[in-house]
Amino acid sequence: MLRNARRWILTPVVTLVAASFVLYTAVSLQPGNPLTLLLGTRATPAQYRFLAHKLGLDRPMPVRYWHWLVAAVHGNFGDSLVYKQSVASLIAPRIVTTLLLVGYASVIILVVGVTLGVVGGMSPRLAPIVAALNGFGVAIPGFVAAEILIALFAVKLGWFPVLGTGQGLAGRLQHLTLPAFALAIASIAYVSQITRAAVSAEENSPHVETARGRGLQKARVLRHHVLRNAAMPIMTVSALTVASLLAGTLVVEFAFGLGGIGSLLDQSVQDKDANIVLAVGLILVLVFVITTTALDFAQYLMDPRLRLKAARWH
């Protein structure tokens, strides 16, 4: 029990703290002085000292890091230098757009990816076509997919709007359709690849042949004998893929001019707006750590054999 607490609570927390330190170090190495940005070049040295003290910039880096970490744990990410607002109030509306986008893309990935994979795994005739599509699909990055979709569906056919977030849920979803597909394409191919491999491995296994030999219906064999055993790798890859979608939004939101946290991070890096970079970076890492930990836990619950094994590295 103690070992499990270490695995699912202590390790993720240590990873997060270490990651936050890496984030903070990177941001504090940033060239340029935020004071010059705020005060301009004509401020007096006294004004500089006052503001530096007010912002805590006169203290050494580890102390600043500690204060930032404690505040961040309490949900306070400070103020943006450029927007002059609290970082939380900037992130709150944008994270809704990002979550809708990621959620929409996840649904597309799971439905299309798993279906394609199962079809490819079950039918030897379609397998090479599905495999070729997958091999091609994984190589299409979100931003190239975005340009292809814009050229085809927005400019040529005019079915979807190009930019903006839209009004109301229906309008939002319509605006998010092309971005969601752009974000999903590579992941659909990847999930489909893993599903196909898992399903075709089970298809040829003795227990499935036995089930067929017993004269069970095809659908029943698929549900109870093939998919049940193939579920583990499919679940693992799907969860990791969905977690990595958040990083994909950095590029796709930029391509479609969507106001989410991905494009906020891009803009803040350009603006050297440290508090936003720290907050969004921490959110990205947090989501990834939570997903991998939850996945590890789910696998442990699903497969009793794993209870005997140690950490995922080994």
Partner: protein, 288 residues
């Protein structure tokens, strides 16, 4: 003594099998495309029809023609020349990431299996932590700290890719370590260094090449994505990710040649390296 000397010269138990292996058509095609791309990158200054930064104000956003096979961009630069020239920067970054992360990952993996103990546990912890960073985020942080360009993202991605390579090589190295030839080497009194680097390393070399090939494709996607969002290589350099982004506004007006030609270059390159990498992985695992 003669026997010892001869055994030392025969490092790979699977040597003969490798020579007899049949040619894999798909792998050969993918490999040829990879080589052709490298040739384009090296020969770009010789084969481009125009200088990549030569501006022609009388031909802005024109479609394909005899003079400009892929048309011109919004500054009147020849798109074909820029795509060909772009191969240089677009492939240089991934090549550096691949070299660095493969060297680092292999060293960590083999040293970890060989030394074990606290060293192995500590490196495993560091690797686990690195897994929590999406490669692109790590590259963006490097840009925050050290500015835009090619160098900072290349170093960041090399570190971010190391755990992925290390994990695969480590698993293979652990299997190899249990094989009798390692014991034989130790009985013959070979040093650990020699056994690990010469004998064990040679037996996992195909897997290392396979992993490196896959890393090339993925790092190309990350680096091109970074320049697409404006945090990588800066204009007026010819680079594929940057070209997709620069062609973006012309694309909205129906001039899709620049964006999609550069996008196609990215996709073709990544498909070729991925397919080659997967074939090599399958082959190396078949042998183990």
């Amino acid at each position: 003594m003669a026997l010892t000397a001869r055994l030392a010269r025969v490092p790979t138990p699977f040597h003969a099998e490798e020579r007899r292996a049949k040619a894999d058509v798909v792998a050969v095609v993918a490999g040829s495309v990879c080589l052709a791309l490298l040739a384009v990158a090296i020969l770009a200054p010789v084969i481009v029809p125009y200088q990549p930064d030569a501006i022609d104000v009388s031909a802005i956003n024109t479609g394909p023609s005899a003079a400009h096979l892929l048309g011109t961009d919004s500054l009147g630069r020849d798109v074909l020349s820029r795509v060909l020239y772009g191969a240089r920067l677009s492939l240089l970054g991934p090549a550096l990431v691949t070299l660095l992360s493969t060297a680092l990952g292999t060293t960590v993996a083999i040293a970890g299996t060989w030394i074990g103990g606290a060293f192995d546990r500590i490196t495993a912890r560091i690797m686990d932590m690195l897994f929590a960073f999406p490669g692109l985020l790590f590259a963006i942080l490097a840009v925050v700290a050290f500015g835009t360009g090619l160098v900072a993202p290349v170093i960041a991605l090399s570190i971010a890719y190391t755990p992925y390579i290390a994990r695969v090589i480590r698993a293979a190295a652990v299997r190899q370590r249990q094989l009798p030839y390692i014991e034989a080497c130790q009985l013959l009194g070979f040093s650990s260094w020699r056994t690990a680097t010469y004998h064990l390393l040679r037996n996992v070399r195909l897997l290392i090449v396979a992993q490196a090939t896959l890393a090339f494709g993925y790092s190309l996607l990350d680096l091109a994505g970074l320049s697409f969002i404006g945090l990588g290589v800066q204009p007026p350099a010819a680079e594929w990710g940057l070209m997709v982004s620069e062609g973006d506004s012309a694309l909205l007006n129906g001039f899709w040649y620049e964006s999609l030609a550069a996008g196609a270059a990215i996709v073709i390159t990544v498909v070729a390296f991925n397919v080659l990498g997967e074939r090599l992985t399958a082959r190396s695992q078949g042998r183990q």
